[in-house]
Point group: C2
């Protein structure tokens, strides 16, 4: 005799056990669980009772193999620590909670190559859907995605030619608006600091440049960047660098709020008055911006909503309900606060 039972000694309850106990066929159990309308009320109740008593939980692997589909939605973000993405993730998990959908999180660490590997791995698992960040995939990743047979949502940005669905906002416009705010607040020598120049950061920088040029206040010498990842400490360093290169700079638009907070700390250490001597504006509007001393102006983005909506659009599409529009622009909102209130 064979002994194929080596690993299943752990008496896992299978659909066959439930079927036997309930006196029906396995197929009926399967239907009762995944398509209850197709099973009579009486049978359904009987099956539910047995399922509860035995503690039956369907094996997702077997189900995946049989159907060629999974309940897995892959989410690929560039960073799990960055506040921006963790807010998005929170939104996603919030909506996923209690639903049938399983979130599988991948961390590309801002590397298109790692992203490519993740996409490949995820796709091999027949995901129901994929959520990924931005518009700038590698050629191979794009190819994989275009021929993937699952729904895809791009988040964080809006742009033309989505793979499928898209939700985000315009980084160019957001930082252009912040720049105009600085100009209208009376600053004439604005600088820009940025770390980790991922594509979205670059577009924010481009937005600054565009708006600053238009206002006639653009000076390349007031731009300081570094490939290092953003931290508050780095904000201190970058603004120090900026001020040593261009001491007459009268405002700093920061690529994100961590840098802005660091910039504030550093300016204060140097005895510069914010906003009188120098204005500071961040990007994303993290909660802490509003309670700093002085409160820091920023560009609010809707990260939690983005996560929620991304998953909602995706799961609805999977359920056969196409979204009204495939591209959703959540916009942004400039939040003027005292850190840029030069004229009162």
């Amino acid at each position: 005799m064979f002994n194929l039972l080596s690993w299943k000694d752990n008496l896992r309850v299978t659909i066959a056990d439930v079927a036997r106990e309930a006196g029906v066929s396995a197929m009926t159990v399967s239907r009762a669980l995944r398509d209850p309308d197709k099973v009579s009320e009486k049978t359904r109740a009987k099956i539910r009772a047995v399922v509860d008593r035995l503690g039956y939980v369907p094996d997702p692997a077997a189900s995946a193999l049989a159907t060629g589909k999974t309940n897995v939605i892959g989410v690929i973000v560039p960073s799990v620590t960055n506040n921006v993405f963790s807010d998005v993730m929170r939104g996603i998990y919030e909506v996923a909670e209690g639903s049938i959908w399983q979130i599988q999180l991948g961390n590309s660490r801002y590397s298109p190559l790692e992203e490519e590997n993740l996409v490949r791995t995820f796709l091999s698992q027949r995901p129901a859907g994929l959520i990924l960040s931005g518009l700038d995939q590698s050629n191979e990743t794009s190819r994989l995605l275009r021929s993937a047979d699952c729904r895809i949502v791009q988040i964080m940005e809006c742009g033309p030619d989505p793979y499928d669905l898209m939700i985000g906002f315009s980084h160019v416009e957001g930082s252009a608006a912040a720049t105009r705010h600085l100009v209208s607040a009376g600053y004439r020598k604005p600088g820009y600091i940025a770390a980790r120049l991922d594509p979205r950061s670059q577009r924010r920088l481009a937005g600054f440049r565009k708006a600053a040029e238009k206002a006639g206040v653009f000076e390349p010498g007031r731009i300081v960047t570094t490939p290092r990842p953003s931290t508050v400490t780095l904000g201190c360093e970058l603004v120090a660098d900026l001020l040593s290169k261009a001491p007459d700079t009268d405002a700093v638009l920061c690529n994100n709020d961590d840098l802005a907070l660091g910039a504030l700390f550093e300016c204060q250490r140097r005895g510069l008055r914010v906003p009188e001597d120098i204005g500071i504006c961040g990007f994303n509007d993290l909660e802490m911006m509003a309670v700093a001393n002085p409160p820091i102006s920023s560009v609010r983005t809707f990260r939690l909503d983005m996560g929620r909506e991304a998953l909602r659009m995706l799961t609805e599409a999977l359920a056969g309900v196409e979204p009204d529009r495939p591209i959703v622009d959540l916009g942004y909102e400039v939040m003027p606060r005292r850190s840029t209130a030069r004229n009162g």
Copy 2:
């Protein structure tokens, strides 16, 4: 004839395709991939070539069904936005990257009930391992875990009677040490603020109490807590509350760094000098603490290491290498900074 092929029109490359092309049996292909030593060098090369050419990727669902095992390691954290956990996650993903192990992240949102559901769901997927936070699971969760046939790592805390492996530190001792630091810095009326009283927060509060009592400076009236989640803004509110209830408070130990930063902002808004009028100490030592004005004292914890080590221990155990000790205490380090430097 049947038409069972409806969904597999997508010409997925299977192990049979590879076997045919390589002129060997499927079994040999399987072995070549998962146990290369068992296949001759020549055959292996031939198979590898075909695998590359066809772009074959094994179907994890089929593999899971056949072996009863998966490569999935479930990670359950109470929050994906909290800096503390996102650092741990980053450590985990760092180690997982490039390995065969798939991380499946669950977010219990500080709810033992949601944790229980997650554990149940995860276990139904036959994970290779589980990483979860803390010592305080529900009875049912404990039962599930004790009878689970996968390796388990508890993170964030150390305590007796682990399910399996454990890595963390003592929150009681950490905050007791911070309290002693305050006392030795000359503060005699220390208060404590905390939000979201999860079990670890409670133990930190207990540590404060223990050390404050020992030093003869404990006063219950100087403790302010709230169930709301920690934010910088909440730090402002809590310290405001503390100061209205006990205006002569001369130091605040904060349950975490967000609160500490908020406390600093609020004290400064009120014209209190830090550290002369009031000392402020945080917990976790986020990067920004060192660059605030003044720099904020905190208790450093080793979150990234905790994530890395947790996954390392787990995967080594899965590979048959038992860790030296099942419980690893990573300790903590009090970081005295100017925010508590009352005597110079």
